[in-house]
Symmetry: C2
Subunit: 242 residues, 2 copies
């Protein structure tokens, strides 16, 4: 059974302001939910069409119809859970820190979080105008990787100003990434889908890095921010781990 107030709560969590207000976010599907629980996130409530056991204050058996009503997916999975948004903790700057400057598309953010997980980059720092990582679309796109990546939101310009490690930025005109020497500790900034890295942050970069283009006519406009991130994280690992 899902009560009216539960439906109202869950539906409201599509919007960031209600996620901020309640400190909760939605995850769907047994795999994503299991990964978040394994990672130690606090489960608030779980709605499932399959048999569930546990405290009746947390676990709710629902029909498929009820689940479809609260699901954000076109076709609901077998379960939907609410989790508490983890508290932001102090951020050590070790290894590579990935920083996003106004990456707006939830799909891109989700893909980037999954990439961070693959390449063992555990710290992702986002400007406040980057997409919210607890947006349902991001949660689903990360395929559970969100559980293992520490995502922080802050004034990115101040964060970079106060950092004591090299700051790299992905730009259209910079050093060829294949010739670039990475420090073991550093910050890599990826910019907005349409406008790239903002002017204020661009000034703070120690080095601009470019992914060389090989198309004969050099007409390809730019790489998508998620695919560019894939290439740069791969390059960081290739050149620092061997």
């Amino acid at each position: 059974m899902v009560s009216k107030s539960q439906i109202k709560l869950i539906t409201s969590l599509q919007q960031k302001k209600y996620r901020d207000k309640t400190g909760l976010f939605v995850a769907e599907g047994p795999k994503v939910i299991a990964e978040l629980r394994e990672a130690g996130l606090n489960l608030h409530s779980l709605f499932s069409t399959e048999a569930v056991s546990g405290s009746s204050e947390t676990f709710f058996s629902v029909t498929e119809l009820e689940l479809q009503k609260i699901s954000f997916l076109k076709t609901a999975n077998t379960s939907l859970a609410l989790f508490e948004i983890p508290k932001q903790i102090a951020m050590p700057q070790q290894g590579l820190v990935l920083a996003l400057d106004a990456v707006r598309d939830p799909g891109n953010l989700g893909t980037i979080i999954r990439l961070c997980d693959w390449f063992g980059v555990t710290q992702l720092v986002c400007s406040v105008d980057t997409a919210d990582c607890y947006n349902p679309k991001v949660i689903q796109a990360t395929m559970g990787s969100i559980a293992r990546i520490q995502v922080s939101y802050c004034d990115l310009e101040s964060y970079i100003k106060n950092s004591k490690i090299p700051v790299y930025g992905a730009c259209m005109e910079g050093v060829n990434v294949y010739a670039h020497t990475w420090a073991a500790n550093g910050i890599l900034v990826m910019g907005n889908e349409a406008n790239g890295i903002s002017e204020g942050i661009s000034k703070l970069l120690h080095e601009k890095i470019t992914i060389a283009q090989f198309g004969k006519k050099q007409e390809a406009e730019s790489l998508n921010v998620a695919t560019a991130t894939a290439i740069l994280l791969s390059e960081f690992r290739r050149s620092t781990e061997r």
Copy 2:
């Protein structure tokens, strides 16, 4: 003005069977349309809310409302065009040929075409069960890159059997890509989003290539096929062009 029969024709082109039947596909937005025309594709008809000049059999001035009616986008751009699907021409096997084995998602295919354009990989060979590159979602996702890439559909297994150059495949268990030596001419196979490379094609591979995983717990499930393609094309260029 858009006639009823034009509306019917354009709407039908969302489906592959009507694209096959008519030999036409839809592209939207002045930038994409301009790139396709520059690349020499035959324009069948153009509908625009802006002033257009030219033959009255090809160019049609429309209102915003009319354009929204024929557009496949949530918010229509200023123009929509029908182009003739280019004839498939014989495929030389030079440089790197990218082969897709049942990549189903139009967004992934679009991103991969854009990546091919960036990295100067001009030949993309797809199994017949790969998403159709003239699907409107693919056309929009390529950002015009489709104009510069030669996409062919064929029985991928026969194609690979008859090829005389090395065939590489992206797999979960293979040679670390950073240690892999690429031939100047070769075929790189990327597999289906859920199942990877099919069994039949897997047997034909000369070498399996893996993108090393660095996450501590090795729990990240896999990379998205588009981000994996980004990393492998970058690696091919890095190691063969220097």
